[in-house]
Symmetry: C3
Subunit: 353 residues, 3 copies
């Protein structure tokens, strides 16, 4: 019997099943330094211990998305080895901040299942949760993924779809204990704008752009201990659908977030991921641009020092975002994303009022 991990197929998942993912991971200042080198992140709360302490935290937490990617990476050997596509995210919440020295582990519950009519694949809905060494949740999210069947004859389960909120409501956004933006130092943060300066419907072209190198996305994806084969094996992918390694979608999310500093520099904390779509794959050599739209302004109950913005950040490849590329109607009259769009992320950030 083979000892290597063949991954789970659609018929291996059961509603209510809890998957305890390997391997626990102690996060260090080294991970954060690599994250900075990979994306150029420069939000002040994660960049400076002095700034973080002035905001009431004990130290500079790691970037929220670094914690997300590490937790996500742990789910891959159990969830995604036989995946065809990562279909969506919902109801993602960032809870306890993660500090260097914390050890993260992850588990997921199967909260929905639906076989596809082609008999070859099905959609699995999972609620994943990353926790620190004290068992405190640091990030929770639902994602759904299309997974191949291993045995075409396996019977279809009763379809169950979880109820998912369109967005995380203001009352469910977590503000880290002690966090206080009443003395927020805008000059240190490199940001001129506060919550009140943003308007619903406002669009911001982030201007900057980053070209992805193969070495970069491989380093990132391995840092997250994400083992999905399509990111690493040029020999096999040269015969595959795209002829090339596919960039981990989370790498593009982190690039877009880092680019968003230019226009959203005071949005130093991500509180929620409401929805996300990898509209098209990215490859080594692509140059990623980004723009954002303010979807909603949320007041946080009981807080006058900070508020939340629900944002749509769109990443496009090889196209400057001054014209805010998003959706497009094809010549055949079908709707869909503009062909340059690679990411459509709906998320919520905290910033000083």
């Amino acid at each position: 019997m083979t000892k290597n991990n063949p991954g789970n197929f659609f018929e291996d998942f059961r509603l209510g099943q809890v998957l305890r993912h390997a391997t626990p991971r102690t996060v260090t200042a080294g991970d954060q330094a690599l994250y900075t080198a990979l994306y150029g992140a420069r939000f002040a709360l994660q960049s400076s211990a002095v700034f973080a302490q002035a905001c009431g935290l004990p130290a500079a937490p790691i970037d929220d998305l670094l914690a997300f990617h590490i937790v996500f990476g742990k789910t891959v050997p159990d969830v995604s080895l036989n995946a065809v596509a990562n279909l969506g995210y919902a109801d993602g919440r960032f809870l306890a901040p993660v500090y260097p020295g914390d050890t993260l582990s992850a588990e997921s519950e199967v909260v929905g299942l639906k076989a596809n009519s082609n008999g070859k694949t099905g959609v699995v809905y999972l609620r994943s949760r990353g926790a620190n060494q004290r068992g405190e949740a640091v990030v929770e999210y639902t994602r759904w993924v299309m997974v191949r069947k291993g045995d075409a004859a396996a019977p279809a389960p009763e379809p169950v779809l979880p109820e998912l909120p369109a967005a995380v409501s203001a009352g469910r956004l977590a503000v880290p204990e002690g966090l206080d933006f009443s003395g927020f130092d805008f000059a240190a943060a490199g940001a001129a704008h506060r919550w009140g300066d943003y308007e619903v419907g406002e669009r911001i072209d982030h201007g900057d752009a980053m070209t992805i190198e193969e070495a970069e996305h491989q380093l990132a994806t391995r840092l997250y201990q994400n083992t999905a084969r399509v990111h690493f094996n040029q020999h096999a992918e040269s015969e595959g659908r795209f002829g090339r390694r596919i960039v981990y979608g989370g790498h593009v999310i982190s690039l877009a977030r880092a680019l968003s500093f230019n226009g959203l520099g005071s949005a130093v904390k991500i509180a929620a991921i409401n929805a996300g779509c990898h509209a098209a794959p990215s490859f080594g050599g692509d140059t990623i641009y980004a723009w954002s739209e303010v979807l909603e302004k949320l007041e946080i109950p009981g807080r006058s020092d900070l508020g939340a913005l629900r944002l749509r950040t769109v990443a496009a490849k090889d196209l400057a975002c001054c014209a805010f590329p998003y959706q497009a109607v094809s010549e055949e009259g079908r709707g869909g994303y503009h062909p340059a769009v690679v990411l459509d992320l709906d998320y919520t950030v905290l910033l000083p009022r």
Copy 2:
């Protein structure tokens, strides 16, 4: 007189000579984070402080091979600048675990010398030893390397070949003080198999693969402060034997070890390197696959919580390892390695019983 280091030539080595290598190196969590990003290592003992502490260690040690590469790198300016080929390893033992904050230094003793009959080169045998700031040995190994003569007229020394064991015996395998696998958490480790589940002769295809990028092997090799010129200088190598930079052989060892997680996930500690051969050079763009064979099962005297496996791990480039490529007979009837094989490593790991 030139102040730069010309390296040692064959005639510069003397039997019994002790080379104290520069530069001492304090290892940090940053080095370990880079190691994770370079290889995607995810053995639980090195990945998680919580896991390591549950196994009786004070903290998560760095990967054994990271310590090996740092020690190896220190020997390069004194040993390998004028080397033609790294011929072999023997009797490698991993001793005290290395923790972030430890400072490693290295020295080597010349334990064998043999001039080649061509009068241009000779083989130098060295016993190298890396130690921490308390003088405790962390890794010891013998290697032999073919070195150019600087002066073709230099007389050949009396040939002396060291006695080398075929493998490190069970009684000489070091188990770190305090290490106890009696409560080994297989689910956390992402590993289903214990010592008793493996059989001598069993072969495991590790399935996964990694394409090497030039930036990756250069980052790795510099991290180890290994200064061998063939790894870094495309301008000179474009006129060289292969037309390209050669990947540090240790980079391939670390890739193969990381790939071996898929099938050997509970083998969280390397105890010995018995022998090793870089069967062919690797280059940027090569995709590395790996498979392993269990050569021997060793009981550790006095231990019921853990045992050792002597393994052969073979790395091949641009060839999936489902058929376990290893040796091949050429059309001319000569034996040798299969042309895809780049590494043949004989080593010993510890895992829970």
Copy 3:
């Protein structure tokens, strides 16, 4: 109104204006590990805590140039977004050593302004200062940069040029508190030469070389949170002056410094940058070689354990430096740099007497 940062144009600068730069940055062992991986730096003072402590410091400081690049990176969003060229450096002094855990911030004062006669650009002189969390200066330097005008009709300011020393004098070189080289361990440092062994006019070919990969300079430049667009956006640069991303000049400085170990291994501390010129741009794929000349030997007042060397280190691309390429006269009889030269750096180092 756009919320992204358009950068400052020439007419936005005022003599005496103080720019407080974002974002403060806590430096960690992770940054230093990346620095080692990017350049292969192996000067003993920064490599080993044990060595640093034997020299009287509390711990191993980060590389001087890592601190410089972080401070420089902070000035970019305010100074260089609309820059045409970085023209020069002067009077750079390294002051308090930087240790992991320190938080660096930066500010600059406009100390000179001169409009160019073309009416389209002007030169801005800035005195920049990086400080740690206690407000102690860690590095100070003057640089001047050619910046585009945003409004061609903006009036030219009264020209003011700062007085700049040709070199930092011995009396202004800072020796870190406690630093004592009287017990300097040359063997550990991998260096055979002390201050007295070097002679004015002596030239050293550093021998080694490094090929720059796109991923490497991008990782480095983002690590420094330097946001200058020309380093990252291949899509835009493919239409630009060179058709390619330009390597951050500081990346070449760090490569040359790391290469200089071979011949200057005991020069473990940079004390000053006297002048610097990026003679030509560098690109991914370039192989960097370096050589140095001793320009001056300086005694440090009151110190018999250490002295200073003023050096010129020249980096050249795709040309070995055995012939010390530097200046050249073109066919038309014009002077200038040898076409292979990319860096001409005049700086001062401390080493044991």
